[in-house]
């Protein structure tokens, strides 16, 4: 149960496997004694520490609430979010709780459906760049040499481009929509996590148990995925959680500028685009305050989650 919740926070499901059998191996040797003596598994320990942080727990509940809203959007929203269902720019009323926009679409329904865009782009892009970053980071850190030098130069080139601006340019040139935003953010975002994983691998690689694994004759594949990856997972998990928050912010900013999700599709970001007009800003606040607050709440809860997780896995600077 608890590991499932942690998985939702943004890691591709390897936690359950890890907690079930920490050092199991194919050759049938007994697992390392360390795992048996510390009766509490990594996942359980992390969860226990996480629960001590009230802010993080409340954030987890709020985040799961947003996930639920996104899943149940068709049931929850009173109207079709993309169709004209009322008078133009009507203020909040009994039928339209948050009013309507300038073509008569229901703001509440758009707000509910917008949660889907934010979550899909946020989690999706992080899954893409975390996978690339982890794979290349393991490769670079474990094998070193030429592979490492080339990969590090490539990360330098990627990281030399200003992140938001370059993503904005690419997305708008290949055609802005939800999928391209997610993919471009995914394929441009991997260098920091690659460097993080590489550094962690270099640290772990010099430890005795890796030396003994090499002497025992495990294949590099087994060593990397069974022995190294589980031990560098904590910082990746924390990094990915914060990554989801900034990915949601970035999607919202792109859509706000008209270079992300395009109307009539609803995104929290593009719901605020029209508020650049002073009339709408000052006279129709129901059209821009709710989506703005939605982004703020979603990003804030995920950041608190990440912070709680960071403390729980022992990476906090207390």
């Amino acid at each position: 149960m608890n590991t499932e919740k942690l998985v939702l926070v943004g890691n591709p499901g390897s936690l359950g496997e890890l907690t079930a059998e920490p050092f199991a191996n194919e050759t049938g040797r007994k697992p390392a004694p360390v795992a048996e003596e510390t009766a509490e598994s990594w996942g359980r320990m992390t969860w226990r520490r996480f629960c001590q942080n009230r802010v993080a727990l409340v954030s987890l509940v709020l985040f799961l609430g947003i996930v639920l809203i996104a899943i149940l959007a068709p049931v929850l929203s009173p109207f079709n979010p993309n169709q004209t269902v009322g008078t133009f720019a009507a203020s909040p009323s009994g039928t339209h709780l948050l009013g309507t926009d300038d073509v008569g679409r229901d703001v509440l329904s758009r707000l509910i459906y917008g949660s889907r865009v934010s979550l899909i782009v946020g989690v999706g892009s992080v899954l893409i760049y975390a996978s690339i970053g982890i794979a290349l980071g393991l490769l670079s850190g474990y094998f070193g040499g030429l592979v490492d030098s080339v990969l590090m130069r490539v990360t330098e080139v990627f990281m030399a481009y200003p992140h938001f601006m370059i993503i904005m340019v690419i997305v708008s040139l290949i055609g802005p929509n939800m999928l391209t935003v997610m993919l471009v953010m995914g394929f441009m975002g991997w260098p920091p996590i690659c460097r993080l994983v590489r550094g962690e691998v270099l640290r772990v690689k010099s430890l005795d148990y890796i030396a003994s694994a090499i002497v025992t004759g495990y294949s590099p594949y087994t060593i990397v995925f069974r022995h190294i990856l589980p031990n560098v997972l904590s910082p990746i998990l924390v990094n990915a959680t914060f990554g989801i928050a900034s990915a949601i912010l970035m999607e919202a900013s792109l859509s706000f500028l008209g270079m992300g999700v395009q109307p009539p599709a609803a995104s929290w970001g593009n719901m605020l685009t029209s508020a650049q007009s002073l009339t709408i800003l000052s006279e129709e606040p129901w059209r821009w305050i709710p989506p703005g607050v939605a982004i703020l709440v979603a990003v804030l809860t995920i950041n608190f989650l990440g912070d709680g997780l960071n403390d729980a896995v022992g990476g906090g600077s207390k």
Binding site: R153, E156, V157, M159, A160, Y161, P162, F164, M165, I166, M168, V169, I170, S172, L173, I174, G175, A245, L249, A252, S253, F256, L257, M259, G269, L272, A275, Q276, L278, L281, S282, P285, W288, G292, I295, L296, V299, L300, N303, F304, D307, S317, K318
Partner: protein, 317 residues
């Protein structure tokens, strides 16, 4: 140190080359033809070809890249597709507003963040500390456009304290008071973003220093709190501060797109948005190169700063 800087600059050359190829491919391999913007439906095929030739788009892209690099080396950034002005001139006009906005924002952010971070660490786990930390979370989580719009709504529209956008009142001679008033809101938005990171780093760094043995020594030999703070804590907490500056400086050119757009600030960010809309490739490529060079130089500057601040850090020749 001089040798180190030279070495770093030489290493940057291949990185710069790859960056320029990336910038070039980026705008040339994407679907859509820039000439589309300048072709009207009633043009004959010959006229269309003429337009493409005048924009230099008829040649193979390797040749286009070569010509672009040759011009770039001579300081010629090419001409804007949309209004035929030299790109260098357009960009330099937009550079100053961005640099003004960003340097002021960084200054305000740091002047606010460094004391807050130190106080937060000295009063660890107090209510004040929690409030400061909570505030940093709000700052990093607030979408910049929402914060900007909210500030305009409250401070400019409702209370009428500040102008809603621009660098000054159009068509008037703007004195420094008027210019300053126009700066307040955009600086608030940018500074709130920059300050959060700095507060957290300073706090962590001061906490770390406070646990060191030399602080205990200083306490036991009877130095006052202020003396310890100034002589030992601040000096030794400087290194992480340089790290934060290192992550902030690269954002100086490309980091204010959204803020500039909301406040109609005539800087590089709003130029980028305009250039994207008009598919003005020469401008886009130049902005990408300019910002990438800024990032490389900022990284170098930070590495040199490390050595200046911490004499223990020495770079191999």
């Amino acid at each position: 140190m001089g040798a180190y800087v030279v070495k770093r600059l030489i290493i940057s050359v291949p990185v710069l080359f790859l960056i320029s190829v990336g910038a070039f491919l980026l705008v040339h391999l994407t679907p859509g033809d820039p000439a589309d913007m300048y072709i009207s439906p009633d043009m004959t095929p010959a006229q269309i070809e003429l337009t493409r030739m005048s924009l230099g788009l008829d040649k193979p892209w390797v040749v286009q890249y070569g010509e672009w690099m040759k011009n770039l080396a001579g300081g010629n950034l090419g001409f804007s597709f949309s209004n035929r002005q030299p790109v260098g001139e357009i960009i330099s006009q937009r550079l100053n507003p961005t640099l003004l906005l960003m340097s002021l924002s960084l200054l305000v952010a740091y002047l606010m963040a460094i004391p807050l971070g130190i106080v937060s660490a000295l009063k660890k786990n107090s209510l004040l500390d929690r409030m400061i930390i909570g505030w940093t979370f709000f700052n990093v989580s607030f979408p910049p456009f929402f914060l900007g719009l909210a500030l305009i709504y409250v401070l400019a529209v409702q209370l009428d304290l500040f102008p809603t956008g621009g660098m000054g009142v159009l068509g008037e001679e703007n004195d420094w008071i008027s210019q300053g008033m126009h700066l307040v809101l955009p600086v608030m938005v940018m500074a709130s973003q920059f300050s959060a990171n700095m507060i957290r780093y300073v706090r962590a760094s001061v906490l770390d220093v406070l646990e060191q043995n030399y602080i205990r020594t200083a306490v036991s030999k009877g130095l006052s709190g202020v003396q310890i703070l100034l002589a030992h804590v601040c000096r030794n907490s400087l290194i992480p501060i340089v790290t934060v500056i290192g992550t902030d400086l690269p954002k100086v050119i490309g980091g204010a797109v959204v803020t500039e757009q909301i406040f109609q600030w005539p800087g590089i960010g709003s130029l980028t948005v305009a250039a994207i809309h008009s598919r003005d490739y020469p401008i886009l490529m130049s902005i990408v190169i300019l910002s990438a060079v800024t990032v490389l130089l900022a990284n170098l500057l930070v590495d040199v700063l490390y050595a200046v601040i911490d004499p223990r850090i020495r770079y191999e020749k």
